[in-house]
Amino acid sequence: MKVRSHDAADPAARSGHPSPLINRRDLVRAALFASAASALGPAFSFAQAVSSGLTAAALGEDGSKFLTDPNWKAAFLNDQQNETLIALSDVIIPATATPGAKEAMVNRYLDLLLSVQPAEFQRQFVDALAFIDSESRKQLGKDFRALAPSDQVWLLTPWAYPRQPSHWMEQEDRPDPAQEHFERLKALIASAYYGSEIGQKELGWDGSIFHGPYQGCEHSTTTHS
């Protein structure tokens, strides 16, 4: 059901345009001559101001529909990056008795997320994907997405576990860039999977709002077993 905004009848509120009663030049001057640093920092200006209304959530809109849109197009990733991400997510969280990351459209959600993130976040993600491909070519002679599933697992497995420093080889215990790239991608894939409807169901979510009042500890022993 749609909820009508309290201000829906007001054209100024609906359009989001500042009223002419506000003197924008005064505001700009105020911003320029502010004697103390604005808590927002210098990047913000009043020209960006918008009016308040209701959020999409408050209007009851299901924002997840794009995930299953037959005409979906990537907003950020190129085809190679998208396919690499799908392959990677399918190795990290495969379908088992329950659906995996591929079915949960983890790539589509991450593509949307990336499209609105700062450039540095985007760069780190793209670099991590490129690293997986370059290692794949170096070690197995093919792009990651073209590898046999067993070779995909073979390539990634050393990066998926905490590293045991080798004292015998007298290596310095410094961060492993390969592991950092992998961890970054894994964390985002896991978050996208477990944040999806499929992922919530994997965790046991059943959609019910009410399951009775909170029952706390009822154990009589301190072992709580």
């Binding site: 918008v50 997320l113 029952q215």
Partner: protein, 560 residues
């Protein structure tokens, strides 16, 4: 001038419809006064609540670029989300400034009910250890009343609001009129027992404004979890569906939404407030409304801003500011100290379904108490909030089918985070920034606050004691934090129009009435003399009711 004046003259104008404004509107209108209740934001209905919406239906799953763009400050609060961010002010329309080396985060809502829609609901009484703290340690001044003066008002508020909690007979945290307590998890029971045995400290279930049994037609909590997204059964306390509703039911209260109050209008000859001027949020038209009394309940910084913007010839430094103290002694609880860990031997898997308990645990202040004596490194103290429950372990190592299994096994987590007393300090203050205005042309605040050495020592100690208590409870993998978060992060700002008996040393009298202008009241947290370490809203509401009863009495005696 007269063109924009609304026809009716009211007995009282209440500015702000949140926790305190709602009480003022209810109390005054139920006593028969004709009340105008002004709210800067729009009205709200339960139809826009989103507490039952699954998070995967949010397009950006709480990473909305619109929230990042329009609420870069508000989103520092956990409760400002893709679900409900329109309740929070648009930071681009509502600027304030800070000195570069003194950052302050100001979290606020402009919607009917204000922050009572999203508040943390934790509700604790202050004690005489707080009201008379200066007499014990010599820092600053005592409050101008004692616990006994406020106890009956705490009773009134608690009986109506509905506070779940457990009585503890602890002198630091007086018991109240409690609904049945919520129960503790296994981890919490273990922590409570461990620290009682080793340190004699009290861990109790959180005292929260959430119903555990029906009250005044509001059903008990159904434990769906995210209160900050609204509650269709009104089981946590928020003003629109309780106090404001009652006020409107009397027929004596007129609610005016979208009314952004810019200043108080004075009858300078009579030295009386004659009403307020407000700007309509959408049309930006200016109106005046007249009344025999004005009570500001817009929250501490906003009420203070209104007074500072109400200068007259007689009050050039801001209305009701003959003391020169208006805006000074800004406080916000210091946060940042604490610890977290895991109970490795509690093999209880996490649950994705409700019941989700909308409440945590509370460790009662144990530093600088009459029982524990004087601490060598700091004055005053802190309380801990926290909790312990199993959660899904998405950080598990590995990948594939084994990883999926490990996530579901989960880890049993435990954490404690301190809320410490923020000392009243003249140098923590707000004033009008002469060069900055909001989107309605109203001069904006410059806020200048920093936590000091005592606050830093409190948080250091809180890290130490949180760790030792988690150890005592048998937790492992303990991580400690001892930092001091940016002021404003506790969202407990109080103290900018302090109360007192001496008009030279305070802005308000002990009944929240201006020393300078006797028909002007400030009914929110502005009046606080010290911050104590307890969450302030319950005390604000009790003080507001006490102030209203004083206003009603003066009004009936024709003294306003």
């Amino acid at each position: 001038m007269a063109q924009g004046v609304l026809q009716q003259t009211y007995d009282a104008i209440v500015v702000g419809s949140g926790a305190t404004g709602g009480w003022a509107a209810k109390r005054l209108s139920e006593a028969g006064l004709k009340v105008a209740l002004l709210e800067a934001g729009r009205a709200v209905t339960e139809k826009e609540f989103t507490e039952h919406m699954p998070s995967f239906q949010l397009k950006y799953r709480n990473h909305s670029p619109e929230v990042m763009r329009t609420r870069p400050i508000q989103r520092q609060c956990y409760a400002c989300m893709e679900y409900n961010y329109e309740w929070f002010v648009n930071d681009l329309e509502n600027p304030y400034s800070t000195p570069p080396d003194r950052p302050f985060t100001w979290q606020r809502l402009r919607v009917l009910g204000g922050r009572s829609l999203v508040w943390g609901r934790q509700s604790y009484r202050l004690s005489d250890v707080d009201f008379k703290a200066a007499s014990r340690d010599g820092y600053d001044v005592d409050w101008p009343f004692s616990y006994a003066d406020l106890a009956t008002f705490y009773d009134i508020v608690e009986r109506y609001v509905g506070i779940t909690g457990a009585a503890e007979q602890n002198e630091m945290l007086p018991d109240g009129q409690f609904l049945p307590p919520m129960s503790m998890s296994c981890g919490e029971v273990r922590l409570r027992d461990g620290i009682k045995k080793k340190f004699g400290r009290t861990l109790t279930i959180g005292r929260a404004a959430v119903l555990t049994q029906p009250l005044n037609g509001r059903p008990a909590c159904h434990y769906c979890g995210p209160c900050e997204r609204g509650c269709r059964t009104f089981s946590y306390f928020s003003s629109p569906f309780t106090t404001v509703k009652d006020a409107l039911k009397t027929g004596n209260c007129t609610l005016i939404t979208d009314a952004i109050v810019s200043h108080v209008d004075m009858d300078e000859g009579a030295n009386k407030a004659q009403g307020v001027t407000f700007v309509h949020r959408a049309t930006k038209e200016t109106r005046q409304i007249r009344a025999k009394s004005v009570i500001l309940c817009a929250q501490a910084l906003e009420s203070t801003r209104i007074l500072l913007n109400s200068s007259t010839r007689e009050y050039p430094k801001g209305l009701a500011n003959s003391s020169g103290l208006l805006g000074h002694y800004l406080m916000d609880h210091v946060v940042g100290g604490g610890a977290r860990g895991t109970f490795e031997d509690l093999k209880i898997p996490p649950n994705a379904n409700p019941p989700h308990r909308p409440n945590g645990i509370y460790v009662v202040r144990f530093r600088n108490t009459p029982a524990t004596g004087t601490h060598p490194h700091f004055i005053r103290g802190y309380g801990f909030q926290g909790g312990s429950s199993p959660s899904f372990n998405t950080g598990a190592p590995g990948m594939g089918a084994d990883y999926k299994k490990a996530v579901k096994l989960g880890t049993y987590e435990v954490s404690l985070g301190a809320f410490g007393e923020s000392l009243a300090n003249f140098d923590n203050f707000c004033e009008i920034d002469p060069d900055l205005k909001d989107a309605w042309g109203i001069p904006a605040l410059r806020i200048s606050m920093a936590h000091g050495k005592n606050e830093a020592a409190l948080m250091h100690d809180a890290g130490v004691t949180a760790a030792e208590m988690l150890e005592a409870g048998g937790a492992k993998n303990i991580h400690v934090t001892t930092g001091v978060e940016m002021p404003g992060m506790a969202i407990h700002e109080v103290g900018t129009a302090r109360m007192g008996n001496d008009a030279k040393k305070s802005v308000l009298n002990p009944f929240c009435q201006s020393h300078d202008v006797n028909n002007l009241f400030v009914g929110d947290g502005s009046c606080f003399v010290s911050s104590a370490c307890q969450n302030p809203t319950l005390t604000m509401m009790a003080i507001a009711v006490r102030a209203c009863d004083h206003l009603i009495e003066r009004f009936r005696r024709n003294e306003l």
